[in-house]
Symmetry: C2
Subunit: 157 residues, 2 copies
């Protein structure tokens, strides 16, 4: 079970955009150069963040990507699910109701105990990522990083 490689990219991209000054934006090309990433594929992932309401995108000379809301209101879960979706990890196909051992439907009104526990575990993962915001990550960056990020992304393209 693997998250796509681009999960790291979008988490860092959102963190970088959270370090920009008010009104500032950065293009996909700038963010790609910032981290040495493939620009076209990064742009596609950033569009997924726009669709998820995490980023907004504006065209024009001062355009680019910026956070769609304050960094303190964007959780790691929202960024991760923007590129990986919200589907459960574990799919229960109700095999308990199949085959020679099929449990009769009247005994299957409650969720399968295995599916229920798998769901509890996934909820724990989601809850953990819901408890941390992009603002928390920015606050944990080493000294000097936010200043350098602002300076690098403010350079003319």
């Amino acid at each position: 079970m693997k998250l796509p490689e681009s999960t790291e990219w979008v988490l860092h991209a959102a963190t970088s955009l959270a370090q920009l000054g008010p009104g500032a934006a950065a293009s996909a090309a700038q963010l790609a150069e910032h981290y040495d990433l493939p620009p076209a594929y990064l742009a596609k992932q950033l569009q997924a963040l726009v669709r998820a309401g995490v980023l907004s995108a504006a065209t024009g000379p001062r355009g680019g990507f910026r956070l769609a809301r304050p960094a303190a209101e964007i959780t790691l879960l929202q960024v991760v699910e923007a590129v990986d979706g919200e589907a459960p990890f574990y799919t229960c196909k109700e095999i308990r109701q199949r085959g020679r051992a099929a449990t009769p439907p009247e005994q299957c009104r409650e969720a399968c105990g295995l599916a229920a526990q798998m769901a509890v575990a996934e909820a724990a993962w989601r809850q953990s990522l819901r408890a941390v915001t992009i603002a928390d990550i920015v606050a944990s960056l080493p000294d000097g990083v936010p200043g350098r990020t602002r300076e690098l992304l403010a350079r003319p393209r």
Copy 2:
């Protein structure tokens, strides 16, 4: 991010084997028929459970698969990891140290804050699945299921 479809199969297979009487075993063909699953592919997954030390396999007329240790000592995590591996979901390729914005190595002695939080979330998922055993699942089965499982799997092949 998806667990393989066979995760459901092996969780149910381990649960079924936990319902057998002492010394009893079941073949891959029996378990496949029990749940209407493809026998060859199920057999491959059961071998993975043997390699992980969850099941043991014996050949001969009374052979087949059985639990390698008491059901109360087999966690859901062990069964899931037997087929899906133990690799982390999130891979940190240290993109913070790449590109124009590269953070200098002396500021990267601690794990990236994003990687650290992703690891916390994965630990919560694992801990949740480590806290539940196959014996807990058997105890939660509807009335009559264990008796029927024993009876069905005891039938001659």
